[in-house]
Amino acid sequence: MTDDGDVAVRLRGIGKRFPGVIANDDVSLVVHRGTVHAIVGENGAGKSTLMKILYGVQKPDSGTIEVNGKPVRLGSPSDAIAAGIGMVFQHFMLADNLTVQENVVLGAERLHGIGRAARAEITRISSAYGLGVEPDELVEDLGVGARQRVEILKVLYRGARTVILDEPTSVLVPQEVDELFDNLRELKQEGLTVIFISHKLDEVLSVADEVTVIRRGTTVDTVPAGSVTSQQLATMMVGSELPTPATESSTVTGDDVLEVHGLGLVASSGRRVLDDIALTIHRGEVLGIAGVEGNGQAELVEAIMGMRPQAIGRVLLAGVDLSGASTRERRERGIGYIPEDRHRHGLLLDAPLWENRILGHQTQEPNVKGAFIAKGAARDDTSRIVETYDVRTPGIDVLARALSGGNQQKLIVGREMSGDPVLLIASHPTRGVDVGAQAAIWDHIKDARRRGLAVLLVSADLDELIGLSDRIDVILRGHLVASFDPDDVTPEQLGSAMTGAGQAA
């Protein structure tokens, strides 16, 4: 494997700085042809930046890139494609209302035209690599796994010999992951090279030949997948033991905090995104909601928060009917809310931290005195949150935008835990935050549960759901279809319920 003719991609001393962060620092990497090469690292370690450099989206500040032994300059994605490198992004870039064939040829009309030749090429690639893609299907009719295969086909159609996949499994259920891995093995057998970015270590070990670990923007080591365990990889990734959200003894009481009856919501398209949802959360209980994204989780949370006035059904908090109440009233009654998208819903990015402390609590102590903002008290309380929740910031006057994702999230968690909420709605509370912040946030949720907080936890991370929840309900197409005890459920069982496979059985 040391023979240079064998090397598909070689990176030497790649460095990239962004304001406030060193995304990459002296990254060196050798990817051999015909292998699946995994790049692992915690969120924010610099994996995505490295891949964007390799795909020409971003220019490195230093270092060299060699493809097939020849040095290349990748100034744009078209340079990368010309060098035989293609990339499948985490978020698909497909036009829903076009067919598979139209999506594939879009932007690559010069290669095989848009007619029969293109179609023949798509069919050829699809069967050569076992992708099972039908050129005439509409993309909107395809599931997530099939869409991903279309994205892969798009890349191959453009002549890529090296395919980069950015967190490809984050949107897939376990069964789909297995299918994807079969496809990747197929690609490898045909002599293609796959670079696979992930932070899910078990998956990495099952599919990759070699694994490169990145920590804090630099390469720690490259090891053959057969010679390490996931625990060893994890230790390399974080430089210490990987935290897991271990379940603790139950603190569930008999007091109902949140009761939801017959909650329904019809989208403007006429589709029922929520249908007859009923759930109860008790004091000291964490109810986890599992589901493939887009099955109504976001709408469920927003309906309970009062952000969806069209929702029907009843929502009771500690016995008080809040069905028609405004979002503000619900918050005043003690609902804390960690939104799914902290940049859109959780923060004023261009406002200082202490103003962000007030957001969502504009009518509550200690932020206001009558109709006026109590600036001093709000600032003091912001300092308390920064201190207690370990928000890494030089001060409370910096803009929220200047903080890293994990620290932004810790600020939000601290804010929403203030003022003794009775119910916390946490939507993907640790998405996109680093391992340290993740462990801290888990601890805060567990502490609050012990003190009697009721928690509705929506997450795509099954480990997080199993580790934190007292009960897990599965949402599928707007229905709650199954309920599990996290102590004796497997990811496969959850996966089946999430895709509806469990119903047939």
Partner: protein
């Protein structure tokens, strides 16, 4: 430099640079047109006489109110282009009410001001209502309401008008002398008094600042302007905020014509000054929606207007040349602010990262192994 002092330095530096750029561009235009650029600037930048100073302060007062009205909308991402229509309708109604003099003396003045504020608010409120009930962009509706207001005022003026003595103009009944707002003298000789309404304008500026920065309502308004989704998630009723801020913006717009009405014209006629609402948009942009910034912007525009007046007589150069300067200033200022804002954000991110690096290595050194 600390992050705060850097921010202040950038805030002051940007408009100064923008001004220099605007002067350069105007000079190029003058040179191309064959006009004496140096002489023009000598006149414009000469020290104004006290009569001119009074004029500058007076038009700045009016510009200030207009800028303030626009700024209230801007703070919430609402573009109230309708200040022009709002103030003309309001000034007409105020002139009519004051001219009828149903109540004596200053009570009459107060009544007329209240009427103007309510008419301005109501006229802007139409746009607000359309936005929250039917989703009509306030940009479109306020533009249309400007046109409607022009016709409406013309129609009402015809109904209410009396002939103005010694001219062919028509106007509302003159306001009785006891209801005028007396001027404040800034020099000796004729024409050196500034509108007494300037006191009300200053109070409005203070009120604007307190409302936005110190109150819950102001916080909600700014939060909605920063990010509507975040505002919704925080419990703000965005529809209510849109309506209320349109009403407030219109209420302030209603006062724009009043300094002229109570300090100078004393009736509303066909020659009543128009176009002040559009100047307000430029001035609010120039002043970054900051109460002091708007005042500086208003003074700058008023200064340029006044100093350019004699250009025609002295140099045979059209005084409209300052419109080019004013327009370029708005453009360059907007660009400079955006550049500076981005630079500032990057600078701050870097400063935050540096501060944390230092702290991180400190704590790492102290931490037990």
């Amino acid at each position: 430099m600390t992050p705060r002092s850097t921010r202040v330095a950038l805030m002051v530096g940007a408009p100064v640079l923008a001004l220099v750029a605007a002067f350069l561009i105007t000079s190029i235009v003058l040179t191309v047109a064959g006009d004496p650029a140096v002489d023009v600037w000598t006149q414009i930048l000469s020290v104004p006489q006290s009569r001119n100073v009074a004029n500058i302060i007076n038009s700045a007062t009016v510009y200030y109110l207009s800028g303030l009205a626009v700024a209230i909308g801007f703070r919430m991402n609402l573009f109230n282009i309708g200040v022009d229509g709002q103030y003309r309708l309001a000034a007409f109604v105020a002139a009519y009410v004051a001219g009828e003099a149903w109540v004596p003396s200053y009570l009459n003045t107060v009544l007329a001001i209240v009427a103007a504020v309510m008419v301005g608010a109501a006229w802007a409120g139409i746009a607000g209502l359309l936005r929250v009930t039917r989703g009509v962009s306030e940009v479109i509706s306020t533009i249309m309401l400007n046109a409607i207001s022009t016709s409406l005022v013309a129609f009402l003026l015809r109904q209410a008008a009396v002939d103005v003595q010694g001219s062919n103009n028509i106007g509302t009944k003159p306001i009785p002398r006891g209801s005028w707002i007396p001027g404040i003298s800034v020099g000796s000789g004729p024409g050196t008094e500034v509108y007494g309404f300037i006191v009300i304008a200053a109070l409005l500026g203070i009120g604007y600042s307190v409302l936005l920065n110190r109150t819950r309502f102001g916080f909600d308004l700014r939060a909605t302007g920063h990010s509507e989704p975040a505002a919704v998630a925080s419990g703000i009723s965005v529809r209510r905020m849109v309506l209320v801020s349109m009403l407030l913006s219109g209420a302030v717009a209603g006062t724009v014509g009043l300094p002229i009405l109570f300090g100078d014209a004393h009736s509303y006629g066909v020659t009543f000054q128009s176009g002040l609402g559009f100047a307000g948009i430029a001035i609010a942009l120039l002043g970054r929606n900051h109460p002091v910034g708007i005042a500086l912007g208003a003074l700058l525009f008023a200064y340029l207007d006044e100093q350019a007046n004699p250009l025609q007589i002295l140099l045979n150069v059209s005084p409209y040349i300052v419109k080019i300067t004013q327009g370029t200033i708005v453009l360059t200022v907007v660009i400079a602010y955006e550049v500076v804002r981005r630079y500032g954000v990057r600078l701050e991110q870097r400063q935050v990262a540096r501060a944390l690096e230092v702290r991180g290595s400190d704590s790492a050194a102290k931490a037990p192994a």
